[in-house]
Symmetry: C2
Subunit: 534 residues, 2 copies
């Protein structure tokens, strides 16, 4: 199979040169996104996502004009391109950079938000759409479409809110929003894949139970595979490269094995997103401590960079794709239906989110003993708001579901749902995205100033694990936790999450770290590694 071959099929003259032209234009636009995004960000109102969308829209408009209304794309990708090349670096980076201590401390709440919350949101959107779409005169959707819609619009994009939140001032809120975002990504994709595999047209208890079992086994097996590959990578790097300065090989191996975990999961029919996320967590917990200090700096920033490029790539593509004439032919015929459906879905998204954020927060507050870990009402509102944006994952899922290989002859159902997805992604990213800053400032008045000065780079905030310098290593908190947990036995027993964490730490120190390496367990130190960490 040639990756390039097909790119010539659709062009008339000088295919190879044209292909290079398009790549050049795309690369130039990506550069422009980064530069313009940075210039506009001075005001802190815009972000790279909005810039990339705007540049994509602008370019699409120009191409539409020059091609006389027949085309708006510089390059056209199949949805597989997103899933095979663009999504893995984004999710792997999320796992690699997640602040593990906070993530696992708030594990119960995050899982409730990310998994149960996503399921509630999915149920409400699906059910609501089933009941309300016929009232708009849209009658050609079947059960499967409604379920897919629910899964697609359960996938949130909280990057925008994370850019505005201050991690130091509101650590709980930050970790909740970040954690929910990641678990939500995984849940919605697993859900979507489980839905496409199952025939849910004649729903009964048996089918529902089987579906739930399938969903759970996907979750467990995917996590297991990710952990396994991560551990294997840690073990290889620890045993092979220890004490050598093979930075490039270490980095290559980490990149390739992370990617391998993703494609292996896809091969086995599991969720690559979940796998690569846990592979990232395991790698940052073990493998990252076995490599040279140069590899540590490089992997951190190289993974973040890949994720960054993949994200602006997706948003720019969505911007261009928004002007695809084929997709809008349907809207031209029945504009009310399309915009009505979008407005309805947006309403369902907001209601669906409210239906789980506030109840789950109350449940979580009842379970949590220390007062400073309780989720205040304005924090609940922020969590609710943060998950209203829809982004890359929704688009990728919608493309997977609704655009077949015969895009020229789009069914009305597919056209309606594709355009609705584009409208909602555009609207939430731009309008809600621009409103986020004022709303957060209103809810947390004091935090705004510090935020202005401290965090000019969105990605540097996205890196809770790292800080800006090597010697700032928030993970050191792990040891404190162990001490606390050991001395304050009462707390250990009143807080189940801490108990798990305590035993995990004991197990980790006794069995895992001696084999797979990790912080403080580098027995034959050579002086070239972990310099800043000891």
């Amino acid at each position: 199979m040639s990756l390039i071959e097909s790119s010539y099929g659709l062009l008339t003259t000088e295919p190879e040169t044209d292909y290079v032209h398009h790549i050049a234009l795309f690369a130039a636009l990506l550069c422009a996104c980064i530069v313009i995004g940075h210039l506009l960000e001075e005001s802190r109102w815009m972000n790279e996502s909005i810039t990339a969308l705007a540049i994509g829209l602008g370019t699409g408009f120009i191409i539409l004009l020059t091609s006389r209304g027949t085309n708006s794309h510089v390059l056209e990708f199949k949805q597989e391109f997103f899933f095979i090349y663009l999504l893995p670096p984004i999710i792997f980076n999320a796992g690699f950079q997640v602040k593990k201590k906070r993530f696992f401390q708030n594990f119960t709440t995050i899982t409730l938000f990310g998994a149960i919350g996503t399921l509630i949101s999915f149920a409400i959107i699906s059910f609501g759409a089933t009941r309300l779409f016929p009232k708009l005169g849209i009658s050609y959707l079947v059960m499967k479409d409604y379920l897919a819609l629910g899964a697609i619009f359960s996938a949130t994009d909280s990057v925008c809110t994370l850019q505005v939140l201050n991690q130091e001032e509101t650590p709980l809120l930050y970790s909740l929003v970040f954690g929910e975002g990641v678990v939500n990504d995984a849940t919605s994709v697993v859900l979507f894949n489980a839905l496409t595999k199952f025939d849910l047209s004649d729903m009964n208890t048996f089918v529902a139970l089987k579906f739930a079992g399938n969903f759970l086994s996907l979750f467990v097996l995917s996590t297991f595979l990710g952990v396994l590959v991560g551990l294997l990578c840690s073990f290889i790097i620890r045993t092979l490269y220890f004490g050598r300065d093979s930075t490039d090989r270490e980095v290559s191996l980490m990149i390739l094995m992370a990617y391998l975990s993703y494609v292996l999961a896809e091969v086995f029919g599991l969720s690559g997103i979940l796998t690569v996320f846990f592979c990232g967590i395991v790698m940052s917990h073990y493998a990252w401590h076995n490599v040279t200090i140069n590899s540590q700096v490089t992997t951190k920033h190289a993974f973040a960079t890949m994720s960054f490029i993949a994200e602006i790539f997706i948003f720019m593509y969505v911007g261009m794709d928004a002007l695809d004439v084929e997709k809008w032919k349907f809207v031209k015929d029945s504009p009310t239906k399309s915009f009505g459906a979008s407005a309805l879905l947006l309403g369902l998204i907001m209601v669906g989110r409210a239906c789980f954020v506030f109840p789950i927060s109350i449940v979580s507050n009842l379970m949590t003993k220390p007062a400073n870990n309780k989720i205040e009402f304005k924090q609940q509102v922020t969590v609710w708001w943060a998950g209203l944006m829809r982004g890359a994952v929704s688009v990728a899922l919608a493309y997977k579901k609704f655009t077949g290989s015969d895009e020229q002859h789009m069914e009305p159902a597919n056209a309606l749902l594709t355009t609705s997805t584009i409208i909602i992604v555009l609207f939430t990213t731009v309008v809600f995205g621009l409103l986020t800053k004022p709303i957060i400032n209103f809810l947390f008045p004091k935090s705004s100033h510090v935020d202005h000065t401290q965090s000019s780079s969105p990605k540097s905030i996205m890196m809770p694990l790292l800080g800006h310098r090597l010697d700032v290593e928030p993970e050191t908190g792990d040891d404190e936790t162990t001490l606390e947990a050991a001395t304050n036995l009462q707390m250990v027993f009143t807080n189940p999450a801490n108990t798990i964490h305590y035993y995990w730490r004991k197990f980790d120190d006794a069995f895992m770290r001696p084999v797979f390496g990790g912080r403080g367990f580098i027995s034959y130190v050579t002086g070239t590694r972990d310099v800043a960490l000891t």
Copy 2:
């Protein structure tokens, strides 16, 4: 154009899943290459190139068996894939990591070897093949084929020798081999492209002059474009990001603009290789000093890693492709012709190289005044040997020339030349590659021991700019050179290269660095950057 679409065309069932299977297998093989290559390297006889070739051959053999002799590929790529995705990182990294001081000090000699030498080699191989091939009974090649052959087999691969040479002990030799390798890559590709554009069937003085002019303008314009993009990137990073901790954006911008320079050159019909090489040099001279210290570490190692992965990718692919049954059908019919042609070409390569290495060395020695800069005879032999290996560039050029879209019906000429290329690349990489270590040890007996202990990573030697740590920065030598050049005026006038270097430094300090940044010219230092360099 979809990058993925076509990959389904050739498969019968479950195309998407199959595609993921193949990517998974390929990723797993790349991991295996790195691990096994490292294990085998303990002996210092093997290297990653040989390992990748062997693994590719092994995998190809297994696939050949399981597919019952119809297929040997995991993934099949068009030659464009090499040129658009794999070659740019390799060449950019070479430019980025080149030890600029040494490179420009020996600029005359390196250019003589790399440009004039490649042309001599090209002429001898083309002429020799024209005269000798008919004697083997090969009569179906035309002038264009012979010229292409000359260009293809003028492209050397000196990585193997660089892995064995010790940079500290034989700095002159190292910089000659490294520099020649890079200029040679560029020259052979420019030559090849110029040849494919020109109709040289009826050669006369006018056509030859026009060809020479075209060749030269390609050289100059490509260099100019690379310098321009590199300066633009430096300027943007200096003015936009200064004093901010936007590591990921800086790294993204450098990667994207480097790639942009390559594709822009291809769009303008220039040599992308030359462009991206000079873009790399300019970026490492200016832009690299404008970024945060984390970006400096990340870019160094991320670029080296990309180059490393691309190289093993190519060698593994060559190994698999070597068993492609289509290509060998011709050999089965007339084995003597194919192996005769390969042996003949190998002889021509050795003669062609001898015809310029020794004369140019003598000329260079006559021009050079300081005795320690003269090229001894055993160094000349090493330079000659280092350029005998053929690798990725030869393969890519041969594929570009001899494999069309209708690979199923290969002409005898194309089949002959493709198989010859594969035979020569396999033979020189494996046999000559394994002989390199003993030969270098024989020529430079003392250096071998230090080499064993100091350099376990081939790429860490490939990084003359960097050293293993940030604070080792060989470029500091630049300032000494200026001082020397200024105080010892006599030397300045006897050594033209130094004169150029002296005036360049004055110009650089007065006009370039204040605008584009660079070592020591960071006027508004914030304390977060250039920490290790001051």
